[in-house]
Symmetry: C3
């Protein structure tokens, strides 16, 4: 419990500014904003561990809009919003014929009259997902300003074409804890964000983009490695460069997994589709979704993929890392060679050794999402958490209170 | 906050009788019943605006049965029941093979053991929707009387073949507020409930029927206008006539949109299918749903529709209204010319001018639904609201309490 | 209310041990475990009836995994978890591509970070359903031991290939109440668990297996009757035999419905598929789900079924029972001759006479499920219930508190 008090004290010194703002990209947030989210997530997790209720709401809706499949993030959002006292409503566009433009503006308001938080996943098409979230946000701004909405619901990006901030922030919380509980300890540490082989097609770019744009803000040596042609979006590369300069770290891009793994403190080997392919796919779909063209693109992409089956995180590769013992990270589910596929991102022995650690990594996400919502919906979320801590209302069982 | 106290005082003077009764048709309810629902909705909205919790239930289910698509009403029901502390369960008949008769009687009880409210939308077939709701209600009556159910859950009609009472009551609340906050102010005001062109087929009759049967109870001049053949159900026309007589208003039916709009204080231009077509469709479906016959009926109906594209609410039409400035109403989504369709119910400029107002109109629905549930489930809902008002438990955040 | 106090006192004398354990089979549980579940269910039902809140959780998720259709059990689980304060999330595997093995181990943890209870129905394949639940349980054990999970969620078997414990325990609670409120009164009473004709195919064996393995533990004369070939799983027959010996009852298997009904105090006529057919179906599916083979098996099974249309519970059959007035039981929905099918399990007149009683029988299920969850999640669930009873927080309405 002492930890909770210390964290509350530390949070009070931060100068963050997220009230009534959405959490769409970590790159939009200040250092203090990010630190506040991590700190709040840790406090909420501490309250939970100590069976102290963090119900910030007696009633209120949370709405999720998933334009792509999800298990982990779906349950994380469900857990986070439930923890705060909100009731989840999944907005199924297939039942509602929502489109962009006029209809979106209207629908955004119609689902928000008593809504506190909206989580959106829209990660399939380059140039679309984040833009969609901003369009929803603009509609909510108007609704709030015009008095249609009693308050401005918080939008949380549950993965878009550019970033996957609930993932990268959970990863950051995990790294912070793993390396002694202080973000300062990340300074100078090397993280290898590398492509890895997978027999699948069309995995979003948002995780590697989210990792390089976030970890470059803590003075880390960020090494991005991928086969030729598997580039990320230019703007995220630029951001990673700039953040590295600002925070005294380094940012390097190479085509060598070995080079990236060498002396790395952290490795994050994960498959993604090349930006050019994702971009072309979006264009084909915009021009009427010609199935022949889409099938050809997929075939071509899988053929290219197949050249790089050696981009696997196996025991030999791990030996290259700092002390042969780097922290292995993955957003899950991983493509495990011989387990979930014939050849994949990671060998079965390496994954098994690190499996529980990846579960622990995933475990931060509900608390990170809850922190993002609190930071957007409350003017002083730290004071609110402090009051919960002092009250010590039990979350589970109440007979001994 | 003074408003809330005044409204509670006004509610105490009403002689309403809705305990353990369903809200299926406004025509079944007394003037005091209707006024109580409006008043309770306003109180609940006032509590919400002042961040006072209205959780009437610590636990309990709300069940929704949607036999037709919905976004607005779905979220309104979700919001209303959440506001009262209930957890929503959407009952998906496709997963449960529910039919009429024996099975319905049984199922109605099986889903109701710990249920407080059931919302039903069944608006597709003439003679079916409201009858279905009454069949569910009869089963619940039996279950309650026989001791199977601990209490009698409230059924709320979320749109049937005859009425759309949560919509019309929200519209009434909006008009009341718009015209100075007193239902008496509606007396003598003219409302034009008119058909409008839409390129779609099979829109229910429940909104216009709901509007004419409700607004005729407040001494308004109700003018229903539609092209020849777009008649509503006879019984609703009769009710509107009778209510008008009783309350000193007037009720007129014509085939002229211009005539209806002339000097109107309120206009409600909206598309619907002709009763005869809806009736024939129901018969075809009853006789085995012959697809050729259904397709022909749809084609025929769309062809007829196409003759009336001039039934559009545009700027010229609006100039005919009182001061050229009537209150424009719509249940949303509207078919907006050049926006959501080529030619539609309303021109883009007229809609844009009134857009925010239609959002505000929609905003009443969650509070109206919550009021209907409270009125059915509590012997003295006013005393309950009064206790919430006096306690001032915060709905969101609680650190300053 | 005196009943609640008496039941709490009786519960305190029991020596049960279910903390952190799953409820998968009644056969795994001690007599005191079973009695504690019945007793807790009765207390929770008593609190509910007296409008006393039993919210054991201020927040927390319940997850349901339905691998087969369900209405009754789905709503029972929703009701039970809501009553305790949990928010239900239905885990739709079709959206999540969950399989066995590695993925299941991972997914079980990913959906459990803030989860208190998981309900699983997996009843379609012999040798699979219960095994699947145990695999989930093992994954949760690991997650809890490794510190991934803050606590061990409770798994409740909502029907598997072997047992349907929430059904049989509800049936037991119903019988206890029907025969004077004391389980001791069941001693020496005869229950006829018989097959009955149904025109459907592939009904699980879990209900008859659950009934014979549970009712044989209370000194009852358990008579299982079915046509030749409609055998149950051997292990459940063995268990029923052994339990009967231990508790001074008897267990008999015959091929005569009449023999079973003769002088029975309770009759439970219900259709099921023969074990051999269910077993063969599972094998066909394991070998690639050859549709021709599956269709042939279904045809063959329905042909065999059709020989036994005389296995119907009609008025003549009921006359054979004790005083012609045995308690008729069914898990619902029943196949009622001339109502839900041409020829079925029960004649319309017999069913109608007992209909309300079957509703009452079903009504116990939410409370039984709630009891199972409490027993697994709380070290001292009786003390918790006692505290709720003493506090008397109102569940519905709170203005008079």
């Amino acid at each position: 419990m002492r930890n909770i008090r210390q964290r509350l004290n530390a949070l009070e010194k931060l100068n963050f500014d997220m009230y009534r703002k959405d959490f769409l990209l970590t790159a939009d947030k200040s250092q203090d904003d990010l630190e506040a989210v991590i700190g709040l997530a840790e406090v909420i997790e501490g309250l939970y561990r100590n069976n102290i209720s963090a119900r910030a709401f007696q009633s209120g809706l949370a709405v999720s809009i998933f334009r792509d499949q999800s298990t982990r993030t779906r349950f994380s959002f469900a857990s986070a919003t439930n923890l705060l006292g909100l009731a989840l409503n999944e907005f199924d566009e297939s039942k509602s014929q929502v489109t962009h433009g006029e209809t979106l503006r209207e629908t955004a308001n119609m689902i928000s009259f008593l809504t506190e938080a909206i989580g959106i996943r829209d990660d399939m098409y380059i140039g679309k997902g984040n833009a969609y979230m901003r369009e929803v946000g603009d509609a909510l701004d108007e609704g709030f300003e015009e008095g249609v909405l009693n308050h401005r619901p918080a939008i949380v990006n549950l993965q878009c074409d550019i970033d996957h901030p609930t993932q990268s922030m959970s990863d950051l919380a995990h790294m912070k804890n793993y390396f002694g509980g202080d973000l300062e300890n990340l300074r100078g540490k090397k993280i290898a964000m590398t492509w890895a082989y997978s027999p699948s097609y069309g995995k979003p770019l948002s995780v590697p983009q989210g990792i390089i744009t976030l970890m470059s803000r803590y003075g880390m040596e960020v090494h991005l490695a991928h086969p030729e042609g598997y580039d990320l979006m230019d703007e995220t590369i630029e951001q990673a460069k700039n953040f590295s300069k600002e925070t005294g770290g380094s940012f390097k891009v190479s085509n060598s997994m070995e080079d990236a793994f060498k002396d790395a403190d952290v490795v994050y080997p994960k498959s993604w589709a090349p930006f050019a392919v994702m971009d072309q796919r979006t264009k084909i779909i915009d021009q009427g979704a010609d199935q022949v063209a889409l099938d050809e693109l997929e075939k071509e992409c899988l053929n290219t993929n197949a050249k790089y089956t050696n981009w696997e995180c196996d025991a030999d590769m791990m030996k290259l890392t700092k002390g042969g013992n780097a922290l292995y990270m993955h957003c899950l589910p991983a493509d495990i060679s011989g387990v979930s596929c014939e050849e994949g991102e990671v060998s079965a022995d390496v994954f098994e050794k690190n499996r529980i650690n990846t579960y622990v990594e995933a475990r931060y996400k509900p608390f990170v999402i809850a922190a993002m919502i609190l930071a957007s919906r409350f003017r002083d979320p730290v004071a609110l958490m402090d009051s919960f801590y002092r009250k010590r209302n039990r979350r589970s069982g109440s007979f001994s209170v």
